[in-house]
């Protein structure tokens, strides 16, 4: 195992106009670790996830993924913005799953899973096809590869979205409230897929309101509020014995 953390954030700050959304986030995520992030709406959880794969650029502070600075290159003590092509290359290694799935509606489930490895990595179609079918089976949709997203339930769509991200064989997976848009009875299947993924050793950052999942599957838990990390630690400790008032107040609402 490598000695550096999979993700390292150092005083990450981000503003939109005059609104300071992230006010100095410090975090480390080890390889194979599952980190869950909880916190009230608007606390900057999504923004932080989006910074990790450079969908937003950071205003101040530094972010490393697998030892590489995200979006910039350090040369002669100066930061140089990366070219679009290099940013894209960094993103290939990071899978992302969105709250609203964002499947490509004009492609079947199988095509959704295959498009990036074929078009971005230039892998052979037959190889990708086999892997895509395996992934669909893995998320419990081996027989629905020919279905368009509009024909699938929310839970099925989200599982296809997970398979699509995994098809790029990422070393890190980001989940932004993956079950928040789902009907309650569909949440379980998605969480089960994520639990298996965690067991297989994937490094994961999961923004979620599913406290059960955070407690059972998470290796560590971070509570964010107002753009800062208020409290972090092993999930059971944070959930059962929160140290900060704000954490206590939040947990009393969601538990």
């Amino acid at each position: 195992m490598s000695d550096h953390p999979m993700v390292k954030a150092e005083q990450v700050c981000k503003s939109f106009g005059h609104v300071e959304v992230l006010k100095g986030i410090d975090l480390e995520i080890a390889p194979r670790e599952v980190l869950c992030i909880i916190g009230p709406s608007g606390s900057g959880k999504s923004t932080f996830l989006r910074c990790i794969n450079h969908l937003e650029d950071v205003d101040a502070g530094k972010l490393w993924v697998d030892g590489e600075l995200v979006g910039y290159r350090e040369r002669g003590g100066k930061l140089h913005e990366m070219k679009e092509r290099d940013v894209a290359a960094q993103r290939r290694e990071i899978g992302m799953v969105f709250q609203r799935f964002n499947l490509f509606p004009h492609m079947t489930a199988l095509e959704n899973v295959m498009v990036a490895p074929v078009k971005v990595k230039g892998e052979k179609k037959s190889v990708v096809h086999e892997r895509a079918m395996d992934l669909l089976k893995q998320v419990g949709l081996g027989d629905r590869g020919g279905a368009y997203p509009s024909m699938l339930s929310g839970g099925q769509q989200q599982r296809v979205a997970i398979a699509r991200a995994l098809a790029m064989q990422p070393k890190l997976m980001l989940f932004d409230e993956p079950t928040s848009a789902l009907d309650p009875e569909l949440v379980g299947d998605v969480l089960e897929v994520m639990r298996q993924l965690a067991e297989s050793g994937m490094t994961m950052v999961v923004v979620t309101h599913e406290m059960g999942f955070a407690r059972e599957v998470g290796d560590s838990l971070v509570f964010m509020d107002g753009g800062v990390v208020v409290e972090a630690g092993p999930p059971r400790e944070v959930i059962t014995n929160p140290q900060h008032k704000r954490t206590q107040a939040f947990l009393s609402k969601v538990l």
Binding site: R91, M96, H106, A161
Partner: protein, 315 residues
């Protein structure tokens, strides 16, 4: 399913339907007007049906119809290509590029097509010669004390910009401006989450546009493009102003004025444009069906064969 016990099915409703006297009046009025119109078509001598049919398929007319058709197709293809480029430029974060696209659209939408075509027909006045070489070649070489034009090769402008090419250029550039707006509307109708998901998978901006955004935007783009194509078919009649004369309407009119049978040839023009437009509408129908893939209610689950790699959408 079982029926609730102890209750018989309620009887189906038998109600007196609402009367629509207005509809009957409408039908009678329309029927009378249609009959009058047909009567006029058949009895008025000015139509000269036999003469019209004899002439509307004469050789120069057929050649003109062919020109009209291929100019429409080529001008639309060029227009769509220009439109996509202009739309993508317009949405670029680079302000210079997006302003350039805006200026293009502003100019080519402002100038009437007739004026544009006459203008292009006369471009030979502006440039006697069209050449490829150093920009400002003469001046640059002058700076270094050399003589020459810096031109690698040149052609007589009147040859390149002869009639048809000038006309095609005018129509395509004008169409590009309209198509640019249509494509932009299409692109902007797509949820930004789509581009974001594509980027998160490591796709660059070009690939995202080509594979994810544009194919979905097509559903919004195709219907107004059908309109544009039909408008273009009719605007090819303006080629006469360039002047290009082997075009459908000019040829029909020419027969009309030569034989002093103007009216039948105008009717022939209507029939020609009607039938060509109908053909284009069939094309539009199939295009719309093609890009409705994945839309609720339209989609059919694709059958996957175990052995053959499908993923057919990923050519």
């Amino acid at each position: 399913m079982t029926e609730p016990t102890g209750q018989a099915r309620p009887e189906p409703i038998k109600a007196v339907p609402v009367r629509h006297p207005g509809r009957w009046v409408g039908i009678v009025v329309v029927a009378i007007l249609t009959a009058m119109f047909l009567h006029m078509l058949l009895t008025n001598d000015a139509f000269q049906w036999q003469f019209m049919f004899d002439n509307m398929f004469s050789e120069p007319v057929l050649k003109g119809a062919w020109t009209t058709l291929w100019v429409t197709v080529v001008a639309m293809i060029l227009g769509v290509v220009i439109g996509v480029i202009i739309a993508v430029m317009r949405l670029s974060p680079n302000p210079v590029i997006s302003s350039a696209a805006f200026a293009y659209t502003w100019f080519f939408r402002a100038v009437p097509r007739v004026v544009l075509l006459v203008l292009f027909g006369n471009l030979g006045i502006l440039y006697a010669e069209v050449g490829f070489g150093l920009p400002f070649g003469e001046q640059l070489l002058g700076l270094f004390g050399l003589e020459g034009s810096g031109q690698i090769f040149g052609v007589d402008a009147n040859k390149i910009l002869s009639g048809l090419v000038a006309g095609l250029l005018g129509l395509s550039l004008s169409e590009g401006a309209y198509m640019g707006e249509i494509v932009r509307a299409g692109i902007q109708s797509i949820d930004p989450g789509q581009a974001e998901a594509a980027q998160a998978l490591g796709m660059g901006r070009g690939l995202t546009m080509q594979r994810i955004v544009l194919p979905q935007a097509m559903r919004v783009i195709v219907p107004p493009t059908g309109n544009e194509t039909i408008a273009m078919l009719k605007d090819t009649a303006l080629l006469a102003f360039v002047p290009v004369t082997n075009e459908l309407f000019f040829q029909l009119q020419a027969i009309g004025s030569r034989t002093f049978q103007v009216f039948p040839m105008l009717v022939a023009a209507c029939l020609w444009y009607l039938s060509m437009t109908s053909v284009l509408m069939v094309g539009q129908y199939f295009l719309e069906k093609r890009f409705a893939r994945g839309v609720q209610g339209r989609a059919k689950e694709k059958l996957l064969k175990a052995t053959v790699p499908t993923g057919a959408g990923i050519e």
